[in-house]
Symmetry: C2
Subunit: 141 residues, 2 copies
Amino acid sequence: MIKTYTIKEVAEKFDLSVSQIRFYDKKGLLPFVSKNDSGYRIFSEADLQLIHTIVCLKNTNMSIKDIKQYIDYVMEGPDTIELRKKLLNKHRRAVIQQQKLLAENLKEIDFKLDRYNSSNAYDIIREQFAYLMNEKHVNSN
Amino acid sequence: MIKTYTIKEVAEKFDLSVSQIRFYDKKGLLPFVSKNDSGYRIFSEADLQLIHTIVCLKNTNMSIKDIKQYIDYVMEGPDTIELRKKLLNKHRRAVIQQQKLLAENLKEIDFKLDRYNSSNAYDIIREQFAYLMNEKHVNSN
DNA sequence: ATAAACGCTAAACCATGGTTTAGGGCAAGA
DNA sequence: TCTTGCCCTAAACCATGGTTTAGCGTTTAT
């Protein structure tokens, strides 16, 4: 007998909430999931692989709409390989952009932290504070 | 005379929309911005520096609520340095977590792309597709 | 055989981070 | 001076990605 999983088991496996999975299903992300006679969702191993992919795309901030597009391609079978490649390559570039943005801005946060950690932090900050307040005064004239 | 900026100029400088800036102001992120006699916002150079910080925190996905907390500390003056450090350090760790998540999942996307790009991609995908569809059939018995 | 745990849908509700619209005042150039 | 462009607020509206609730059926362990 082939091992199957309940919605709760899948939720735990992927650290999703049960309602999140139902939400994704409603949005058309899980057209491959079958149901038993009582209407309960039954997840196969092959389903888990696809859900893994969905989670991967979600973790890299792909929108549900775009994930649905990808899944729709998968459901159409192997003739959509080129379309899937195009979609994933586009997403790949978007992820690299996100990484770049995070890295650049993290550098600035580290820079700020360094200043806060410096021995004369208090003096620097006090002066900046004065500068900020001082201009207010000038401007209101 | 000290150079000042209009809301539109600031929007362009930081690639924000004018309504976004007004929205941030309404949320309490810009308590330092003064207004002229006509009620127009006037941005000083010192203001721009703080807005730069806000954008930096926003770019690393800090919530508006937390950005407001940081700005509130700034407005209280240099006595809040320790609190600011604590907040920024916590955020720093969150950013590093984001980076880790992105990197891990990008690796998987690249792995999928490699498969799609392999010479026998069509066969692999056709087999996976059959596997997915086949289990459906088994399960529905 | 029954209680507790689990599953289902549909619909309402929510938080976040905005945009849009309406209605009106101010500024700058022709 | 007057038109065009810019600024303002308040309030409505929106998209996204969910969670919660109500009402009801199923499964499982005791």
